[in-house]
């Protein structure tokens, strides 16, 4: 049996292969319900998943490639990931707040009931994000 050099890559490879297999099986079962474009779209997607899975598996079983992957996945790239995640979350939070205000103003001028439902949706999103920020801050404040 071949040695696994990169467990993370091996796991993600297996996940992609599993996704491709399940997706292909579902598409096959629903072949009569789908139109030609739907079949092409899902086939391409699962084919892509299959190739990604195979590539990850191959790299995780190859010592040289795994070493390369390990070097690329260093402390700087971890920091980039953390910063990007944090920044994108903040941007999403600000956008949802702006949309909330926009919905309120739009409702005040137009008095369309549908806007209220959109406002509730964005309101829930903003609240969940706000609670998440507080809980994660408390968690990491205790942990670090």
């Amino acid at each position: 049996m071949k040695k696994v050099y990169n467990k993370k890559g091996f796991r993600s490879g297996l996940w992609f292969l599993l996704l491709a297999t399940i997706g292909a099986m579902v598409t096959m079962l629903r072949l009569n319900d789908l139109d030609i474009m739907g079949i092409i779209k899902s086939s391409l997607m699962y084919l892509m998943c299959f190739f990604i899975g195979i590539t990850h598996l191959y790299r995780s079983l190859n010592s040289k490639r795994s070493e390369e992957d390990e070097r690329c996945d260093d402390e700087r790239s971890e920091l980039v990931g953390l910063k990007a995640g944090s920044k994108s979350f903040t941007i999403c939070f600000i956008i949802s707040l702006i949309l909330n205000v926009f919905c309120i103003l739009l409702y005040a001028f137009k008095r369309i009931e549908a806007i209220l439902y959109i406002y509730i949706g964005f309101g829930i999103m903003s609240s969940v994000m706000f609670i998440t920020i507080i809980t994660t801050t408390l968690y990491y404040d205790k942990k670090c």
Partner: protein, 88 residues
């Protein structure tokens, strides 16, 4: 060596002056070779040399071991501290 004390790096702090490029070129080493020795990507070495990224203590130590120097010397800690205090 180019020194930009008041520019901010990726961490949001002031760019630290360092001797990584100086020591690497004097050892006739490429960025890729140094990256392989300390087990990071060459992109990280480029960022380190530019002062855009401040390494962890372990990475700074690994680099200082490669060049047979100390972290204090590699990262000109005394000078950087002095500059930081002056910029306040």
């Amino acid at each position: 060596m180019k020194i930009n004390y008041h520019r901010h790096n990726f961490h949001g702090g002031i760019e630290l002056k360092n001797k990584v490029r100086e020591l690497r070129t004097s050892s006739s080493m490429t960025q890729e070779q140094l990256a392989k020795l300390v087990n990071v990507s060459s992109r990280t070495i480029i960022s380190l040399e530019k002062g855009k990224y401040n390494p962890s203590i372990m990475l700074a130590y690994k680099i200082s071991v490669v060049f047979n120097t100390t972290i204090e010397d590699l990262y000109c800690l005394k000078e950087n501290l002095q500059e930081e205090e002056n910029s306040k």
